[in-house]
Amino acid sequence: MSFPFNAKIPAGPLAEKWTRYRGEAKLVSPANKRKLDIIVVGTGLAGASAAASLGELGYNVKAFCYQDSPRRAHSIAAQGGINAAKNYPNDGDSIHRLFFDTIKGGDYRSREGNVYRLAEVSNQIIDQCVAQGIPFARTYGGLLDNRSFGGAQVSRTFYARGQTGQQLLLGAYGALSRQIHLGSVKLYPRRDMLNLVMENGKARGIITRNLVTGEIERHTAHAVVLATGGYGNVYYLSTNAMGSNITPAWQAYRKGALFANPCFTQIHPTCIPVHGDFQSKLTLMSESLRNDGRIWVPKKQEDAEKLRKKQITPADIPAEDRDYYLERRYPAFGNLVPRDVASRAAKERCDAGFGVGTGLAVYLDFEESLKRLGKEVIEERYGNLFQMYEQITGENPYTTPMMIYPAVHYTMGGLWVDYELMTNIPGLYAIGEVNFSDHGANRLGASALMQGLADGYFILPYTIGNYLAAEIHTPRMTTKEPSFDQAAAETEARLNRIMQIQGKQSVDKLHKKLGHIMWEYVGMGRNEAGLRKALEELPKLKEEFWADIKVPGTLHEFNPEIEKAGRLIDFIELGELIARDALLRAESCGGHFREEMQTSDGEAKRDDEHFTHVSAWQFNEETEPVLLREDLVFEAVELKQRIYK
């Protein structure tokens, strides 16, 4: 079956597509913008920047977030930096090179047109952020400083200490706050979006739960923008925030929006290892650490064992007995290979019995950099990260190497969108991590911030006008129409159903079970048998949920347990879709590694003949989800095995 939706990639040469699109897109006059309402769900980099920019243009915007303030969205936790093709260091960067690195980094599973546009607007983002008063790192000459990141041989990453995400988000939050002050944006914090309202096949509103009062609320608009982030919490333990969830996107999926490439999940190589059953969350140590830290495990298994038993310390192992496995396997990129490669290499060493700590950890060592650069320089670059590490583990990374292990971090998959960032539901947009569009099967470091802000500041404000230009005669809806009644009733019924179970297991307990299944069978290395096992286990878990979940309290009050329960059931359903997608994609590419598909030296083996497509899944109430394939066409780049040697 041919793909039934149009990705709307503009015609023409790659470098001219976006310019051409902007030249031809329909516009909405200022007077008409005032008559149009836009709902933006999520206030991270994508959501806040979009809501602010749309407000500036004159639309009526309603911004929603589950947090108590837009400033707390999880974009804030991004540490390392943001990429742009500015080529300030004069090291040979260009828009084309950033485009190429991103396509290659994504293992050739993203759209050329989208990625090129991302690279193109990357420079404007930096200009915008500087104008907003973001204190980027600077050189003594007063100009912006850059550092390098995984998957690139140029320094194109702009940063604000180890808190780049925080600073960029606070910039967007500032812009958003300004619009709230001016009255063009109305803010709804502590709200969960629980349903999408459709009218005549178009997205026209949302149903939210006021987390403080428990009230079910109805909101109308001419377009709905989802900027709700990724679904890493499907693994229970991840670097995501505790509240990060897939519910808004999942409800849209259940209403007909396609969910694309769910199996493309990113495992980040440098996280603090798991230390116990009670653990609730994993903490990322920025990838930027790999600039100056060297990753190693002992060469001899007996040394590794002694380290695990704490009979010796890492300092007891002489240089010749250390295996700097990334430098050994990938001499060209060394410790700066892309995330998926670094993660798998760590897993490979640990699985082979060379792991340290609990056995699931490798060293990230700064000894040499400390000698070469001095403690002061290291402190200036990574001080807060070192502090954070010491706080969590009780060990001082200035004197003993850090221990790290891969953890779930980012999800490349998400709602299918066309070039305009609109899903297949007219009027429903998905921006930032919640869409699938730009990172293919693997995202490069410092590109998430770039994509979130590109979508929110510079892409959506153009493309949404192209849709809304035709909606200027559509009157505002009231919330009393049948479509709203129905959606609200659905949501209330679902919440009541959960409350009535009163079983034995708490939400966290079941969530841990889900995480266990996902990490075990749909984790870093996947195979057919494991995926089939997951597809057996997950439906059982879903039954367990509906039979045995226990949610205390009532619906009509502040009740964190009901929030979590609703999110969990959506995660369980999503988990099934991830496993299904992973099973069908019988190739290894980017973050998706099928153990059956590897080269003799353990590298991922793509199958371009059968899988150069986007797997877009369509919900079906009666049957299993339906797979629709959008073929990826490459004109500007040649598909190659990714080599970082």
Binding site: S53, A131, R178, F458, K509, P552
Partner: protein, 251 residues
């Protein structure tokens, strides 16, 4: 570790609330403070009681969602961290731990340990930004900024808006929070343009929201998880005076 917890419980904003005592046993010293509370909540749910509501999200010390006044200090006994970064190894077996919400007129309790910090958003809305629209801006390197200024700006910008400054202040004053935002922009040429307007608007908003006055006790600086300096407050005062005394009156 076995611990006695004395926790403020309050059903909703209008409930009077009070301290209730709980016991948790078998806590790992490696677990975080919140993981210990997760354990307690698990116990409560299994015992058909309502779990304790507390604010938390990123659990890595950057989102600023978490709060908690632990044994008389915001974010617990250690300096320079948030509650979510506090680990149980900072306590001893047998300890009694008092856990209370932030207390300030401007931060009303929503439930148990959760307070409404919307007042901070309102202060930012009053002027905590550079008034530029998206697009139409000069190249990022068009205006050089002295490295020193960029660093000082970043020091101030590290504020996570958690409210520990208000919670620790004997007067529930928000001066440190407000001044951090003002200083961040004042150190940069892009932000300095608006300092005069910003400082007046933000101070006015701060006063109107019912925060107390600064009496230079510096608890805020000592308890701030990001160790924001009170020199920012002096900078704000300086700019406020300049705006009120030296600058020409606008409009």
């Amino acid at each position: 570790m076995d611990l006695t917890l004395k926790i403020w419980r309050q059903k909703n904003a209008t409930d009077r609330g009070g301290i209730l005592t709980y016991k948790v046993t078998g806590v790992s010293p490696d677990s975080s403070f919140f993981e210990m509370l997760d354990m307690l909540n698990q116990q409560l749910i299994e015992g058909n009681q309502e779990p304790v509501a507390f604010d938390h999200d990123c659990r890595e010390g950057i989102c600023g969602t978490c709060s908690l006044f632990i044994n008389g200090r915001p974010h617990g006994p250690k300096r320079g961290i948030t509650t979510c970064q506090l680990h149980m190894r900072s306590f001893s077996n047998g300890d009694t731990i008092y856990i209370e919400p932030w207390r300030a007129r401007a931060f009303p309790v929503i439930k148990d340990l959760i307070v409404d910090r919307g007042a901070f958003d309102k202060i930012i809305q009053a002027g905590g930004y550079v008034s530029v629209n998206t697009g139409g801006i000069p190249d990022a390197n068009a205006i050089p900024v002295p490295k020193f200024n960029a660093e000082r700006s970043m020091d101030a910008a590290a504020c996570i808006g958690c409210g520990a400054c208000v919670a620790s202040c004997a007067n529930a004053s928000a001066m440190l929070f407000v001044s951090a935002k003002i200083a961040q922009f004042d150190y940069l040429p892009q932000g300095k343009v608006e300092t005069t307007r910003r400082v007046q608007a933000m101070v006015q908003a701060m006063d109107a929201l019912g925060f107390g006055n600064c009496s230079n006790m510096y608890a805020c600086e000592a308890e701030c998880p990001k160790e924001i300096s009170i020199a920012n407050i002096a900078l704000m005062n300086r700019n406020f005076l300049k705006a009120k005394v030296c600058a020409e009156k606008e409009g």
